[in-house]
């Protein structure tokens, strides 16, 4: 069984990261709440502690949600790689249900292991942060107890979602036919697209209703700041629609991006590879889209807010003194918190790309035999990786810009007593950082698969198994 679990390490990594993040965030919130209670001025009010708890929960939920998407995709890729073994076991009498249960069981084991790592690593990191903060006098020494029950919650959430995501991701097991163990017609890894229609209709309804609410929010926001709440609901609904309809949204974007790489054989094959399995590539990129969208939405809103504050500050310097430092600190903290989901998504993409290239060994051998040199093979894989990263980043930037502007308009459009058009602030630093990160991600994601691809001997393509 140990050899079968080896392809599950990406799942473990994602579970451990999500667990660490959740536990760390709860500990830090706990620490801050303890520090606030200890303070004479703020200690009376529970509001701040409550807000902190609420925000921590929101970020943990986002991280767990993204890691669930990533995990179900990883598991689907793992299943595709195991098709032959599963078919063989089916051939000698194992039921599809038992095979699927096996994979879900692995998911539970991996999820529990990841959660345990998360509790240890998250608590360790929180301890380190506390030491540092106290030593630097940024935080008073508190009586915060690390052994508190609330920390178990993110751990349990991670274990359960990994289990659930494994179950969802292992759907394909049911479609493996025993005959695939003995025929050699299995090289194609097409996933059938069933039950898509209901989902697409739901996605369209969500997007339409969401955009309607968003527009309503913006209009109401011109006179009443309550508009931002309506807009928020619209944003959540429409974005959920986009995530649900990823199979429809992402492949055209990927095709478009793929076309940018030119007409050389390496670039053309890369573009085709990026969409050869639309369902898989959509899932591969959607996690990153979520992360980038959240980051962009947040920073565009904040940037618009900052522009307005700066204008106000110029008019009344004494009232708004010191506000910029506060704003910068808030933006930095939130960016890190949201960025973590993007990080998990990025790791998921690296893993899935690695796995899917490994499953293409035979095709890589064929390309070598036909005259692809090692450099062309590497360029092909880097371009495939770039197509996925660029498509996800672009989509996220466009969506985030729209949401961010709508948020800023709804929030600030009526803030000065009369309806105004809010110029969307452009967070250049953020955009620059995202583009650099996308470049780094492209390269990192392609290192392992490219090295692997370049080692493939053309003789593999001729071998008949």
């Amino acid at each position: 069984m140990r050899t079968r679990m080896k392809d599950q390490w990406p799942t473990l990594l994602v579970a451990a990261l999500a667990g660490t993040f959740g536990v760390l965030l709860l500990h830090v919130t706990g620490l801050l709440a303890a520090a606030i209670r200890a303070d004479d001025v703020t200690g009376e009010s529970d509001t701040v502690a409550l807000m902190l708890g609420f925000l921590a929960t929101v970020f943990v939920v986002i991280a767990v949600y993204v890691s669930a998407i990533v995990t179900s995709n990883t598991v689907a890729t793992v299943v595709a790689g195991r098709t032959r073994t599963i078919a063989l076991l089916r051939l000698i009498g194992s039921s599809a249900r038992a095979q699927r249960a096996q994979i879900a069981k692995e998911g539970l084991v991996v999820g529990i292991a990841g959660a345990a790592i998360g509790v240890l690593a998250g608590t360790g990191a929180a301890l380190g942060i506390e030491e540092l903060a106290v030593a630097n006098r940024m935080l008073p020494a508190t009586d915060y107890g690390y052994l508190n029950a609330a920390v178990v919650l993110p751990a349990i959430a991670v274990a359960l979602t990994t289990w659930l995501a494994s179950w969802v991701g292992s759907r394909r097991v049911l479609r493996v036919r025993p005959i695939e163990a003995i025929s050699n017609a299995t090289a194609q890894d097409r996933e059938e697209l069933g039950r898509r229609r209901g989902r697409n209709i739901a996605a369209i309804v969500l997007v339409v209703v969401g955009i309607g609410l968003l527009v309503t929010g913006v209009v109401i926001g011109l006179t009443d700041p309550i508009g931002v709440l309506i807009g928020l609901a619209g944003g959540i609904l429409s974005f959920t629609g986009v995530v649900l309809g990823a199979d429809v949204v992402m492949p055209p974007v990927l095709r478009l991006v793929g076309r940018l790489f030119g007409r050389s054989p390496a670039a053309r094959l890369a573009a085709e590879n990026a969409v050869r399995n639309p369902e898989r590539s959509s899932r591969m990129t959607i996690g990153l889209v979520i992360g980038v969208t959240l980051l962009t939405t947040f920073s565009v809103t904040m940037e618009s807010y900052r522009a307005m504050l700066l204008a106000a500050q110029a008019a009344q310097p004494e009232v708004f003194a010191g506000i910029e430092e506060m704003l910068n600190a808030t933006i930095a903290v939130f960016t890190v918190l949201i960025g973590f989901s993007a990080l998990i998504a990025a790791i998921g993409m690296v893993n899935t790309l690695s796995l899917s290239v490994m499953q293409r060994t035979r095709e890589l051998g064929l390309l070598r035999a036909l005259g692809f040199d090692r450099g062309q093979l590497r360029r092909m894989i880097v371009a495939e990786s770039a197509a996925l990263t660029v498509a996800a980043t672009l989509t996220g930037l466009v969506l985030g810009f729209g949401y961010g502007w709508a948020g800023a308009q709804a929030l600030l459009g009526g803030a000065q007593g009369e309806p105004v058009f809010v110029m969307p602030g452009v967070p250049w630093v953020m955009i620059g950082a995202l583009i650099v990160s996308a470049g780094v991600l492209t390269l990192v994601a392609s290192i392992a698969p490219a090295r692997r691809a370049m080692r493939v001997s053309p003789v593999v393509a001729l071998a008949v198994d």
């Binding site: 064929l366 035999a369 001729l462």
Partner: protein, 253 residues
């Protein structure tokens, strides 16, 4: 002056070829002092039971694997010492392949697969070459399917596309590895007939590895391998003669 393989009418030649895997007691000898020449324009079959070394011989002659000892020529080029890049370019320009299965790049359509060797070389086919490719599409009955992807084709059609690709660049030598292994016998006969025509009508040199006596009977010349050695060099033979010889080899072993 040294005599070049081409002076002898040879398109490929190996001399004193040996291939051993592993070391010490566990070492396996796949090829043992094999010397042979393939004649230009001929359709040669390399036959032998499983484990006779016929696939290893083909891999080495096609520049896909390197020998433990001996030398290998393609045309007048000594390819024994060539590095990976030079061998890659050699395969691209001077060798064609038809494998048993999984011949085609699944993400490219029929035309894309056939044009791939040209594109890898960074060039478009010349007018002359384009005419030849169109003739191939025509002869192989692929005209109506140029925009089909491999998974939309039957096994026999996929092998035809592979043949078109292998012949498109008019390579020095086409290697076919059990090209009919995955086909029913009627489709298999068609594919073999096409290879034989390519050799007879267009002078294409072809080396086909097979263990099927019927397939080998389409060839001009049949080389029999057993335990890494060439045991017989025969001209065109009937399936019965080939089977009889194979059987006698099995009985002698």
């Amino acid at each position: 002056m040294q005599i070049q393989p081409s002076d002898l009418g040879l398109i490929a030649r190996v001399a004193g070829l040996a291939k051993r895997y592993g070391h010490g007691a566990g070492a396996v000898t796949a090829l043992d002092d094999v010397s042979l020449g393939l004649r230009r324009g001929e359709f040669t079959a390399i036959m032998g039971p499983s484990g006779s070394g016929k696939s290893t011989l083909m891999h080495i002659m096609a520049g896909l694997d390197s020998p433990t000892a001996g030398r290998v020529w393609l045309g007048d080029t000594d390819i024994t010492e060539l590095g990976d890049s030079a061998l890659t370019v050699l395969r691209r320009r001077r060798i064609g392949f038809v494998f048993q299965s999984f011949n085609l790049v699944p993400t490219l359509d029929v035309r894309g697969n056939v044009m791939l060797p040209f594109e890898l070389d960074g060039r478009r086919p010349s007018r002359d070459e384009q005419a030849w490719i169109d003739e191939l599409f025509d002869t192989l009955g692929l005209g109506g399917r140029l925009t089909h992807r491999p998974h939309e084709l039957s096994g026999g059609q996929q092998q035809r596309v592979a043949i078109a690709r292998a012949l498109a660049t008019r390579p020095d030598l086409v290697f076919a590895d059990e090209p009919t292994g995955n086909l029913d016998s009627r489709t298999g006969r068609e594919v073999l007939g096409l290879l034989a025509v390519a050799s007879a009508r267009y002078g294409q040199s072809i080396a086909m590895v097979t263990h099927d006596p019927v397939a080998a009977s389409h060839a001009d010349r049949i080389l029999f391998l057993a335990d890494g050695k060439i045991v017989r060099d025969a001209g065109r033979s009937t399936p019965e003669e080939i089977s009889a010889f194979m059987l006698s080899m099995e009985l002698a072993a």
